[in-house]
């Protein structure tokens, strides 16, 4: 499940997003503010997390949130989307009837799901939980605190996967080496697996000076960490970089198939996906291209790995020209400071270069002694993305050499913080 307050897709959703504070920390903050205003307020928790994965995709959560929209607009309540997909709506008693009808709508919407079908059987918690703040305030506050702690802990655990890992993770001594037979089993399993709940999106943002990050497009990718945890927890993927590369190629095709299957708004807006040259030349891509055309077409970026480009330049050039003709932009992915000198963006006719941040870049020099700043100038400031920015030092360095586009865990948290501010501001008004 991705964060439900993803980049809004329509004006309507944008309007919702204005009223949509972010997750657990906002819930806690909000509850604390209500300490003296408990009277006449209630809350309802919708356990979307207990739905089957196919019923709690992005679009479902978005629709569920929109059910509360009229009341939010009338300033009768606030909805909080938690990272496990659960929703909490805190509202004034005057809206009780509206809330009850919203709950009916949601029940109807998910009525096919066992979570609602088996509700109340045995010791199962009910799908909707009601609270009166006057009575349950302390319990709610404790729950919010606990949820925030859980999320923080999970985030720390998931540190390694925050950035889209197109390159094998750092060597871990633990775990078995990935072997061809394991890869074969994994690929067989992937053929039938529903990867929708492992799909992630991460924003590539423009950050100029100290201003808030502005999302330029969102990268869609499959979380390798989730995949590993689900399908082969004991395997060290870094042990065989080429087999890992083969795996990512299979995953990229699955993402394409997934996007082709769902005619939802996932592919609308400004997105980027990882593809390899052979996939761009495949029938599946032509289907994707048709779908994209019917969806409201924003900027579509195709990210191609550097090794894939140089492995067969002839095919790459063909795919590049075709993609350009169809209006896609091409981004070369997986470039680190060691391979940077070999990537001539202009010669390759590529639109964007994605450079993997490393603290070693702080010297300002490439391994061949050339200046990074010169490289960025030649490449074009608006053509370079610094990715895997884990901390402010990455953004600071990038800005110092003229980079304006950033991606990574740190950028996500800056983005969340700015959205939070905006929503607080909106509420105050």
């Amino acid at each position: 499940m991705t964060l439900p307050y993803d980049r809004p897709q329509t004006d309507r959703q944008k309007a919702i997003a204005q009223h949509l504070p972010a997750g657990e920390s906002l819930l806690l903050e909000y509850l604390q503010k209500l300490e003296r205003h408990r009277q006449g307020r209630r809350a309802v928790l919708a356990r979307l997390s207990s739905l089957l994965p196919i019923n709690r995709r992005d679009q479902h959560v978005r629709i569920a949130i929109s059910t509360f929209e009229p009341m939010i607009k009338q300033l009768k309540g606030q909805v909080f989307a938690l990272s496990n997909a659960d929703l909490i709506f805190i509202f004034k008693e005057v809206a009780l009837h509206d809330v009850e009808s919203a709950v009916v709508k949601l029940r109807f919407m998910f009525s096919e799901d066992p979570a609602l079908g088996n509700e109340g059987i045995g010791k199962r918690a009910s799908f909707f939980e009601w609270y009166q703040l006057e009575r349950d305030y302390d319990a709610l506050l404790a729950m919010a605190q606990r949820m925030l702690d859980d999320v923080t802990e999970k985030r720390t655990q998931a540190k390694a996967e925050a950035a889209p890992q197109r390159v094998a993770p750092k060597p871990q001594r633990r775990g078995n080496a990935l072997t061809p037979s394991m890869l074969a089993k994994l690929e067989d399993a992937l053929g039938g697996a529903d990867l929708a709940n492992m799909m992630r999106r991460q924003a590539v943002c423009a950050i100029i000076g100290k201003t808030d990050p502005q999302p330029v497009f969102h990268e869609l990718f499959i979380s390798i960490a989730d995949l590993r945890e689900t399908l082969l927890p004991s395997v060290d993927l870094a042990s065989s970089p080429w087999l890992f590369q083969q795996l990512t190629e299979t995953l990229d095709r699955r993402v394409l198939a997934l996007l082709n299957k769902h005619d939802d708004s996932t592919i609308a807006g400004d997105i980027s996906i990882n593809l390899n040259v052979q996939t761009i030349l495949s029938p599946e891509f032509l289907v994707f291209d048709d779908n994209i055309k019917t969806a409201t077409r924003g900027t579509q970026v195709l990210e191609i790995q550097k090794v894939d480009i140089f492995a067969d330049l002839g095919s790459f050039l063909f795919a590049r020209d075709f993609a350009h003709d169809r209006g896609y932009r091409i981004c070369i992915d997986g470039v680190n400071m060691e391979s940077l000198p070999f990537v001539d963006r202009v010669k390759l006719g590529i639109d964007l270069v994605k450079i993997v941040w490393s603290p070693a870049m702080a010297t300002g020099q490439l391994p061949n002694g050339a200046s990074i700043e010169d490289y960025i100038r030649r490449c074009g400031a608006s053509r370079t993305i610094l990715c895997r920015c884990d901390g402010q030092d990455a953004v600071d360095f990038g800005q110092s050499v003229g980079i304006t586009l950033f991606q990574g865990r740190h950028v996500e948290s800056l983005l969340t913080a700015s959205q939070k501010q905006r929503s607080l501001f909106a509420r105050r008004r």
Binding site: T179, P180, S181, L183, A184, E187, S240, P241, W242, L243, Q245, Q246, E249, Q278, I280, L281, S282, P283, L286, K306, V307, F310, A311, D312, L313, G314, S315, L317, F318, D321, F322, D325, N336, E338, S339, P341, F342, D344, K347, L348, P367, N368
Partner: protein
């Protein structure tokens, strides 16, 4: 596109070609305003007309076919033919131009037939009697050819399938039991000296992929999946090094060359191999661009380490495209191996290649896969004096036979084949292994046609 209907009336095989012929015959009396266009994709280089390329070309042409009540046919040769009614010629030309641009990396699209005709696409004015008859006879020929192909196809064996992870797993199991020495191939490279002699620069040892495939995976294409092949090559590296450490040749080569992955250079297997040859054999280590890009950091470490120990770092597998798109000089290698291809001569690449040779220096270039005198000649005319390939193999065999007292019993092809192996029946058949392992000094080939560039 028209989909052939199987099991139509009679024994006639329904093909795109026969459908096209049918369409051509149907319009015999209603030819007003009709034209046909043939895109000669069959004339492209095979690597440029794979399924994906052709599919995209058809996709690009769809709008115009739909707009002018057209029909499109994809022939078995990869040619695309479409019929249109009253088209706006500018629209059609516009699209054809786009498709041509997609294939602009192929010599076909920019080469000149000399008589002003377009090699890439032909128009048939069907309104005109001659034009219609030309089209009809082309369609008839194509239909007949397709029928022949279909018949041959049923008789032929299915082509090997790309190796998948299951196949790689089986192959690696098989490899553990296999006699790797029997799969190792040898090829010499030569360098031309100042006194117009050609002497052996090194003997390269590698696993013959065709032999490996035949022996261990006859039904799969080992090189079709690039990533799995790379993984396989890491295993092969270790097998080759182990075999070479105990190489039993009658004469020890002065210099040998091996193709290695960066990960192998940093392995214990390499250290052991190195200790066996140190002091008496010079070592060239060939590294692949793909591997270097995947692990650039590892490359710098490995290159430094190899140079420290006095070995030569070779960048292998450079093509006209890599030279054009990459500043390969930055690898700071001792030798750059460029694969010969007739495309090197094309105008499209000429400047980039000249610039690369000038930047790196011709004495650090080796022209590989020289299978003809033309290849050697092209290199010589550019100041390159290091060569490898089938042409060099034949030269070496010819000189060997000239000096070999057992030569009367053999042909040049036999001698060439025996040079290429290091064990097995082919080698034992040779009456003079000593001669086989010798590296005779040859007369340097002379550059011809210095102006002509061909």
């Amino acid at each position: 596109m028209n989909i052939p209907v199987p099991g139509g009336d009679g024994p006639e095989i329904v093909t795109q070609e026969s459908l096209m012929l049918g369409a051509a015959e149907r319009i015999a009396r209603i030819r007003d305003g009709r034209v046909a266009v043939q895109m000669h994709l069959s004339r492209l280089r095979p690597q440029n007309r794979q399924d994906g390329h052709v599919r995209i070309a058809m996709r690009m042409l769809e709008p115009v076919v739909n707009a002018y009540r057209g029909q499109m046919f994809l022939l078995g040769t990869s040619d695309i033919i479409f019929l249109l009614k009253d088209p706006a010629v500018a629209d059609v030309n516009n699209l054809i131009y786009k498709v041509r641009a997609l294939f602009s990396k192929d010599p076909l699209t920019f080469s000149d037939s000399g008589d002003g005709r377009d090699n890439f696409c032909s128009w048939y004015d069907l309104q005109d009697n001659d034009g219609y008859n030309d089209f009809l006879s082309m369609a008839r020929d194509a239909t007949a050819a397709a029928r022949t192909r279909a018949r041959e196809k049923t008789a032929a064996k299915a082509p090997p399938q790309p190796m998948d992870a299951h196949g790689l797993d089986r192959l690696l199991r098989g490899l553990a039991e296999a006699d790797v020495a029997a799969l190792i191939r040898r090829q010499s490279s030569m360098v031309i000296t100042r006194d117009a002699k050609a002497v052996t620069l090194f003997q390269e040892f590698f696993v013959g992929m065709a032999d490996l495939q035949r022996t261990l995976a006859p039904d799969s294409n080992l090189v079709a999946n690039r990533w799995l092949f790379q993984h396989l090559s890491e295993t092969l590296d270790r097998s080759v090094l182990k075999t070479l450490a105990n190489l039993a040749l009658t004469r020890r080569p002065k210099a040998i060359s091996v193709n290695l992955n960066i990960s192998t250079v940093n392995s214990r297997t390499f250290d052991e191999f190195e200790s066996r040859i140190l002091g008496h054999t010079d070592l060239f280590v060939e590294l692949q661009i793909l591997d270097i890009l995947a692990d650039s950091r590892g490359f710098y470490d490995a290159a430094l380490r190899l140079k420290d120990r006095g070995h030569q770092v070779v960048i292998d597998g450079l093509t006209e495209w890599t030279l054009q798109f990459m500043d390969v000089g930055q690898f700071e290698a001792d030798l750059y191996k460029v694969n010969w291809s007739p495309d090197l001569v094309e105008n499209l690449h000429r400047d980039a290649i000249a610039a690369t040779i000038a930047a790196i220096g011709p004495d650090r270039m080796l022209l590989a896969r020289c299978d003809s005198e033309a290849a050697i000649n092209w290199g010589l005319n550019r100041g390159i004096d290091r060569f490898q390939g089938r042409y060099v193999d034949a030269m070496l065999a010819a000189y060997t036979m000239q000096m070999c007292d057992k030569a009367k019993a053999c042909t040049l092809a036999q001698c060439t084949a025996r040079h290429a192996v290091i064990s097995g029946p082919l080698r034992t058949e040779c009456g003079n292994n000593d001669m086989l392992d010798s590296s005779p000094v040859m007369l340097a080939p002379k550059a011809r046609n210095r102006q002509g560039d061909a």
